[in-house]
């Protein structure tokens, strides 16, 4: 038992099916009388649709139906929604232009959905779509977020004059200005946080089916949160009563945020399944994923840090333009505001902070949460400017951080940007990371590299994230349209095995194992007797899904609460069976006993009695052993840590090689360290990808996505990445029953700044001051050449 419980490296229960090809992903589905959908997409960044002629497509072989925006408008299919209202600096809600699932008269980005063709086969649907004639009248487009607010820029929405979604601020501007006025030194920095395309390996897919007899719709979809999909489609978009819509997210091949959102395609499939009265399936081709999945990041930022003569931070001001894309995706507005501005205190005691964010519309795919969501952008700003400051002040980068860390005895710690940190030990994590990375030995390694004609650099990133989303009252006061509790049901069967229903969704995170370990530990049931069930609104009572590193901290806590109810009920039954008072009953390792005696009954016996209540306290307790719980967290959790990247650059080619990557993270208690390490590795992989390789690029004139396939968008491959050294600092979260903080996003949050700080450290000696992500070999080489030319001229 103890080998399988909390804290053990248990191999995953779900692996058997994935390793043998027996997983069930959405595209694997084959329903009787199933049809296939194909979406005709806009080839233009911005155009009026003068006319659509679908006649030839309608009569093409195998075609069942063709729908355009005129059909969905006539059927009153609602606009796709953004579920988080951000109020601007004047208290006005953000501009929310309509987002039709099928474009009605205007297309606003390459890949915008124009028509849906449903046919007997996928190939027939695709062939028929080629016969649709669309007269586009091209309009000027705006692509670059930094230019979207310019006078004369192309305008996307009448509802959003000047392409401005909102102009938002947080913090005390007057206090910041006063601090800058007395600063001994001010460091200034300009940054681009590059646009990323999430690229879960499973492309988005959906299948919908309508049962005319019951009026029941079933939607299978690649979702991280099927209950949220059901709620949004029911309450806002399609008007299907919630109890008549079942949403199933089966095995899902990665999400990273991109599968949180409610997209046009699953909306249209659900609607059309009743129209054609047949099941419809659609699976994105990768090129469709590139142009239609919600992208990530895409910020342009100017920041300034004021310090006293010893490098003590006095104030920080940050001005950011954030790209929303052409329409607001489901949670787009919250990402560059409440998940970004609130994190700008980082691990430091900076007393005054002000952040101004203007979010803008451009003729590009919508931008929303991608692994980390706002927090990587905040960490990047802060950790880049801190190391820039260290260089300018000639203070060791680790020492400068130490001088400004929040002390370990300062919790709860109220930052000037709304959050109250609950726990942490930042100096402890730094110390450990510096030791693991052999920071003290770096200058020798730098000299060795120099002797070989190479440039070597080391960079730190001391990050913090607010996750475990989220205390409902807090997010509600900030504009969230939903509560962010989680639910769980723990159900014993009469034979003693357990089914655990969770509203968290697993698409790689290993919940079927981690949650089973929890229940095994709490209730003393062997791991193989615990089955974790997720992803189906018909079986799981309720759920808010998986994002914001919330599954264990919130979903796991709900499971613990449900287990507590099982134990409390079991004590009453055991008391009856042992002829004692419930107050005298103890529960340990799966056995109820009378305290201080050897009289006992195992949980299995209690469960059996609950279902076969022949001798049972029916006047005190109901039969059955099946408990529900909801858990709404008291606060966010605050994972934090230090990542260190050491890099070697060949100045002749610009090629960067990561020599060593060290991560020390504080996730509180760990349930399955093996799974946690996997999460950290994956996050770091994506973070290094952002720093060195990945970039979603649109042509500024045509608005075409230039990085629309794996030929052009550089996904990190096995030989682009090193192995990682991972260590932990453990400061348990004080406000959830497991003391856990969440580990899913840390790597993606911390790594980009660590890598880019290492690059700047390596390139500073040759005069390179600033280089943007991704620091590709081409960019690095050009930066070195420019610096050489400049030095030669001087």
């Amino acid at each position: 038992m103890s080998e399988q419980g909390i804290g053990k490296r248990v191999v995953r229960k779900e692996d058997q099916r994935f390793l043998t090809g027996k997983g069930h992903y959405t595209d694997d589905l084959q329903r009787i009388r199933q049809t296939h959908a194909y979406f005709l997409r806009s080839p233009h960044a911005h155009a009026k649709i003068a006319r659509i002629d679908t006649k030839a497509a309608q009569s093409a072989p195998g075609v069942v139906a063709v729908f355009t925006g005129a059909d969905t408008a006539a059927a009153k299919v609602g606009s796709l929604i953004c579920g988080w209202v951000v109020k601007d600096k004047h208290g006005e809600p953000h501009k929310a232009p309509p987002h039709p699932a099928l474009a009605v008269d205007t297309v606003r980005h390459v890949g915008d959905t124009v028509a849906m063709v449903i046919a007997e086969t996928e190939a027939q649907a695709k062939d028929a779509a080629e016969k649709i004639v669309v007269d586009y009248q091209e309009l000027p487009a705006v692509i670059n977020p930094a230019k979207a607010l310019d006078k004369g820029a192309a305008q996307l929405h009448a509802e959003a004059p000047g392409n401005l979604c909102y102009d938002w601020e947080l913090g005390d501007r007057a206090a910041v200005d006063a601090a800058f006025a007395k600063a001994a030194h001010v460091t200034k920095i300009d940054l681009v946080n590059n646009r990323l395309i999430p690229n879960a390996m499973e492309p988005r897919a959906a299948a919908a089916e309508y049962d005319a007899g019951s009026g029941q719709y079933t939607l299978w979809t690649t979702s991280q949160n099927p209950h949220v999909t059901r709620l949004v489609l029911s309450a806002f978009v399609l008007g299907i009563p919630e109890h008549k819509l079942r949403v199933i997210a089966p095995d899902v091949g990665g999400g990273f945020g991109s599968k949180i959102f409610i997209y046009a395609e699953e909306t249209l499939l659900t609607w059309a399944s009743a129209k054609v009265n047949r099941p419809i399936k659609w699976t994105a081709e990768r090129n469709e994923s590139f142009v239609s999945d919600a992208h990530g990041r895409d910020h342009v930022t100017h920041a300034e840090l004021a310090m006293d003569k010893d490098g003590k931070f006095l104030a920080l001001k940050v001005d950011t333009i954030a790209n929303m894309g052409a329409y607001l995706s489901t949670f787009a507005t919250a990402v560059p505001t409440y998940l970004y501005g609130t994190l700008l205190a980082g691990q430091y005691t900076t007393p005054a902070i002000h952040v101004n964010v203007r979010s803008v519309f451009t003729n590009t795919a919508p931008v929303d949460a991608y692994r980390g969501a706002g927090r990587p952008e905040a960490t990047f700003v802060l950790e880049r400017i801190v190391e820039q400051a260290a260089r300018e002040m000639k203070i060791d980068k680790a020492e400068l951080r130490r001088r400004n860390f929040i002390a370990t005895d300062a919790y709860p710690y109220q930052t000037p940007v709304a959050l109250a940190y609950d726990s942490g030990n930042y100096a402890g994590a730094l110390k450990k990371a510096l030791e693991m990375a052999d920071y003290d030995g770096f200058e020798k390694r730098r000299a060795d590299s120099k002797a070989k004609g190479k440039l070597r650099g080391i960079g730190l990133s001391a990050y913090i994230e607010a996750c475990g989303l989220a205390p409902s009252a807090v997010v509600g006061s900030l504009g969230a349209g939903v509560g962010q509790w989680e639910s769980a049901q723990v159900r014993f069967n009469p034979t003693g095995n357990v089914q655990v229903y969770t509203g968290s969704h697993s698409h790689g995170q290993g919940h079927e194992t981690t949650f089973a370990q929890l229940v095994s530990t709490q209730l003393g049931v062997p791991l193989d007797q615990v089955e974790v069930i997720h992803g189906d609104t018909a079986s799981v009572p309720f759920g808010m899904g998986t994002y914001g590193s919330r599954s264990l901290a919130v979903g796991g806590s709900a499971i613990v609460k449900a287990c507590d109810k099982i134990i409390a009920k079991g004590k009453k039954i055991a008391a009856h069976m042992l002829e004692a008072s419930a107050a005298d009953i103890e529960f340990k390792n799966g056995v109820f006993s009378i305290a201080g005696t050897d009289k006992q009954v195992p949980l299995g016996g209690v469960v059996f009695s609950a279902y076969v209540p022949h001798n049972y306290p029916l006047n005190e307790v109901e039969p059955g052993m099946d408990e529900n719980a909801f858990y709404d967290p008291a606060n966010f959790t605050y994972p934090a840590g230090v990542h260190i990247c050491e890099i070697e650059i060949d100045p002749d080619t610009g090629v960067s090689t990561i020599a060593k990557f060290t991560a020390v993270d504080d996730f509180g208690n760990l349930v399955n360290p093996m799974i946690v390490e996997g999460q950290v590795h994956g996050g770091i992989g994506q973070g290094i990808g952002q720093a060195l390789l990945e970039h979603g690029v649109y042509d500024e004139k045509s608005g075409q996505l230039l990085t629309g396939s794996y030929m052009d968008y550089t996904m990190p491959r096995a030989d682009d990445l090193p192995s990682f050294d991972v260590g932990y600092q453990v400061t348990p979260c004080p406000h959830n029953p497991l003391g856990v903080k969440g580990c899913g996003e840390a790597g993606a949050i911390a790594a980009p700044a660590a890598v880019m700080n290492a690059i700047h450290d390596a390139l500073a000696p040759v005069g390179v001051k600033s280089i943007d992500m991704p620091a590709t070999s081409s960019r690095v080489w050009q930066a070195i050449q420019r610096a050489n030319t400049k030095m030669a001229a001087e």
Binding site: T20, G21, H24, G508, I684, R717
Partner: protein, 160 residues
């Protein structure tokens, strides 16, 4: 127009009528219902569709079903024997070399061929280079590399 195609898949004869443009992966997934082989891209980059054709790993999204007529094909479903995982499958499980599981079948099939091509002698660099044609977005490859190295040893030890 449809044409007949016949091949051996995981040791059993599989026959079907397909459109000439049908890809091997479509035949495997849609006609044979072997959905363990996945499609993750449309440019033959991701490797989720890797199967073995006549003993060599190939991307089944890049081969017409007709070209595999008469071939001996094995997919992820054919690896485990009598309920016992292939040593490479076992190594992926033991070393947590998979998360969402989507790239896993292709990754395992590629890894087995990689081991054989290098006569069981692999180092980290060879594995990383050899897996260039298989994308994983979850693991950062760290544990995949560990798994393949361990899997290679186990394959040699078991004579697989």
């Amino acid at each position: 127009m449809s044409v007949s195609v016949s091949m051996k898949v995981n040791g059993k004869t599989a026959t079907g009528n397909v459109e000439p443009r049908t890809l091997l992966v479509q035949f495997i997934r849609e006609h044979l219902g072997l959905t363990g082989t996945h499609v993750g891209c449309d440019t033959s980059q991701c490797g989720a569709c890797v199967v073995h054709v006549d003993g060599k790993s190939i991307k089944s999204c890049t081969m017409l079903a007709l070209r595999a007529d008469g071939a001996d094909v094995s997919t992820i479903e054919g690896l485990a024997k009598d309920g016992t995982l292939h040593p490479m499958q076992e190594a992926f499980r033991e070393h947590h070399g998979l998360q969402c599981g989507f790239c896993t079948p292709g990754m395992v099939m590629s890894a087995i061929d990689l081991v054989k091509r290098h006569n069981y002698k692999l180092d980290e660099k060879t594995v990383r280079h050899g897996l260039e044609g298989n994308l994983c977005r979850c693991t950062g490859y760290h544990n995949i590399v560990k798994a393949v190295l361990a899997g290679a040893e186990a394959m040699q030890a078991k004579g697989v």
